[in-house]
């Protein structure tokens, strides 16, 4: 029992991180029908911005605990600036195009942002170990375990609950559900759909940046960190069913647990296992676990 506990805990922590990434992705797809490849670059931007913000904070000799606030601030700044910029500046001209074409458009954005990041922050690795080391460790089944991971899990829970609350319990959220259900009818009823698109994309972008900002203290931030993340988030979202928030949560937890179990018992299969889960789910349920079947139309 004692050696299963860390595996489960690891899986949940990794799953929480995955959920932060994929919640934004699935939200944007659900509302706008855009499978956003640029989600990976927003993640990278979040990580870089976190390094800059928290780095400046710590260099200024301010109390180290405040660097957590800087991580959140970095995510909000990135999401709040780049999200609207992308949606108003580019994506709003693309609505109505084929879903696959939209994937290509966001892929192009992804390529552009990769180089923008290199131009702004350079190609060297950035390190930001303080927020990770600061809270210290706790003991779990005889193993020392970073408290930071608990914070990550808490963050994912708070985010998930906030999203559910905003979607199902507020007036704006219910309007958004109407937009998801039938875009044209909502327009006819006087809902300003383009404003909801802007808001959705901004929230999704902020979530991606948040995922990046919270990862920054645990890794070396280097060019290309968004490349791997984006296909991982795809896998999670597709497993859960595109556009389903609950699906993303379940998918993230599933992938997180499978990954931590394979890392523990069969480390060679780490990457393989994640995509194998995705392939198996898609074979059994072609549209993912929680997707609604659509009627075929002529």
């Amino acid at each position: 029992m004692s050696n299963i506990l860390p595996v489960v805990f690891d899986g949940i922590a990794y799953g929480s991180w995955l959920f932060l990434m994929s919640a934004g992705l699935t939200l944007i797809y659900g509302v706008m029908r855009i499978l956003n490849v640029a989600h990976g670059s927003l993640y990278a931007l979040g990580a870089y911005a976190a390094c800059s913000f928290a780095g400046a904070w710590l260099n200024g000799g301010l109390p180290a605990a405040g660097s957590f606030g800087m991580l959140l601030l970095a995510a909000i700044v990135v999401g709040g600036l780049v999200g609207p910029l992308l949606e108003r500046g580019l994506l709003q001209w693309m609505y109505g195009k084929d879903e696959v074409v939209l994937v290509l458009v966001t892929y192009a954005v992804f390529l552009i942002m990769e180089d923008v990041i290199k131009l702004v922050w350079g190609v060297d690795s950035l390190l930001l170990p303080e927020p990770y080391a600061l809270p210290g460790n706790f003991s779990l089944g005889g193993l020392a375990y970073p408290v930071y991971n608990l914070l990550l899990i808490g963050m994912a829970l708070v985010t998930g609950l906030a999203l559910v609350w905003a979607l199902y319990r507020t007036r704006q959220g219910k309007l958004l559900l109407a937009v998801i259900h039938d875009r044209e009818m909502s327009m006819a009823m006087g809902i300003n759909v383009s404003r909801f698109y802007l808001a959705t994309f901004t929230v999704g972008a902020t979530l991606a940046a948040l995922g990046g900002a919270l990862t920054a203290p645990t890794v070396a931030v280097t060019p290309g960190i968004g490349v791997e993340v984006i296909v991982l988030a795809f896998a999670v979202v597709v497993i859960g069913g595109l556009g389903s928030l609950g699906g993303a949560a379940l998918g993230a937890l599933l992938v997180g647990l499978v990954r931590s179990a394979t890392v523990r018992y069969w480390p060679e299969a780490e990457l393989f296992s994640i995509y194998a889960v995705m392939a198996i789910v898609l074979i059994a349920r072609p549209k993912g676990l929680f997707a609604v079947q659509e009627a075929r139309k002529i």
């Binding site: 499978l35 580019l90 001209w93 879903e99 696959v100 074409v101 994937v103 290509l104 458009v105 892929y107 192009a108 954005v109 992804f110 390529l111 552009i112 990769e114 180089d115 923008v116 290199k118 131009l119 190609v123 490349v227 296909v231 795809f234 896998a235 597709v238 595109l242 060679e268 299969a269 780490e270 990457l271 393989f272 296992s273 994640i274 995509y275 194998a276 995705m278 392939a279 898609l282 074979i283 072609p286 549209k287 075929r296 139309k297 002529i298």
Partner: protein, 309 residues
């Protein structure tokens, strides 16, 4: 007849290039040709309205098949390598196609992506195949005839050109006829194709098979040119590159993938020489410009120019 003439001219030009050009140009031409062959397969698939974000799977399988022949079994004949790579790609596509042909749109794209990432995950962790570093391959003969030194790549380019020209002609014949129209019909309205008594599943499956075979062939060509294989060949960014070239050229002509691949390789060589840090950015900007202003690809420019002349 016109296609045949164009193919003959292209082949003659490629042979001249292979014999006369400096080594670096021969190398570039081989890479462009390899990618052109892969993209040709992708274009066949796109005629049915499906975009695969996982052609790197077959590209990698082809490259590794060729490399394994020389590495494990000491078969160093380039012709055998090319045939084996195409066969390996085709076999795998025949198997996976059974599954993938049931999927459409974004799900087809994502599942093909996942399958290529599975192979990537396997290759990265397999120490016997050199993990992330990959390994080298050497081809010493072609149909049993040994190369004179310094001639390898020139011979590869001629062999690759022959393969590409034959493949392009076959695809041209196929798409020009009944099958090509059926493929377009599947893209336009699949349900009606079923009502009319044809099987969309079979069209998609067969086109996927062609795409897999050609990608395998392209993988071997690239491996022969570089003399090295690594898991990067199966990574999703490689697959993305193929999609980019396909969009750049457009799906209307059989020549377009090759022209687009040549443009792509040229740009990449220039960019990596003079502006390595903005290379991806220029790619992205070009892609956006094409999607917005030339959605049918660069080839439609040539068509328009020809019509007005």
């Amino acid at each position: 007849m016109k296609a045949l003439a164009a193919a003959a001219v292209a082949f003659a030009l490629l042979i001249a290039l292979a014999l006369l050009a400096p080594q670096w140009l021969v190398f570039m031409a081989m890479l462009a040709l390899a990618k052109g062959v892969v993209v040709l397969g992708l274009v066949v698939l796109m005629r049915t309205g499906l975009v695969s974000f996982g052609q790197g799977l077959y590209f990698g399988i082809g490259a590794y098949a060729a490399a394994l022949l020389s590495h494990q079994w000491h078969i160093a004949d380039a012709a055998v390598m090319l045939l084996a790579a195409a066969a390996a790609g085709g076999l795998l596509a025949a198997l996976l196609g059974l599954l993938l042909a049931r999927y459409r749109d974004i799900f087809f794209a994502m599942l093909s992506l996942a399958l290529s990432m599975i192979l990537y995950g396997l290759l990265v962790k397999s120490a016997a195949l050199g993990s992330t570093d990959g390994f080298n391959l050497h081809a010493r003969t072609f149909f049993g005839i040994a190369f004179a030194s310094g001639m390898e790549r020139r011979v590869f380019l001629i062999a690759g050109s022959a393969c590409a020209v034959v493949a392009a002609l076959m695809v041209h014949r196929l798409l020009d006829g009944h099958w090509g129209r059926l493929a377009s019909a599947v893209r336009d309205n699949e349900l009606r194709v079923s009502y009319l008594g044809a099987s969309p599943y079979r069209v998609v499956y067969f086109n996927y098979l062609i795409a897999g075979t050609l990608a395998g062939l392209g993988g071997a060509l690239a491996a022969l040119a570089v003399g090295h294989v690594d898991p990067e060949t199966t990574y999703w960014t490689t697959s993305g590159e193929f999609v980019f070239i396909a969009i750049l050229g457009g799906t209307q002509s059989i020549m377009a993938p090759f022209v687009a691949a040549a443009i792509f390789e040229t740009l990449r060589t220039i960019a990596s020489q003079y502006a390595p840090n903005v290379w991806q950015m220029s790619l992205g900007l070009a892609m956006l410009a094409i999607i917005m202003f030339q959605p049918a690809g660069l080839w439609s420019l040539a068509e328009r120019w020809r019509r007005s002349a």
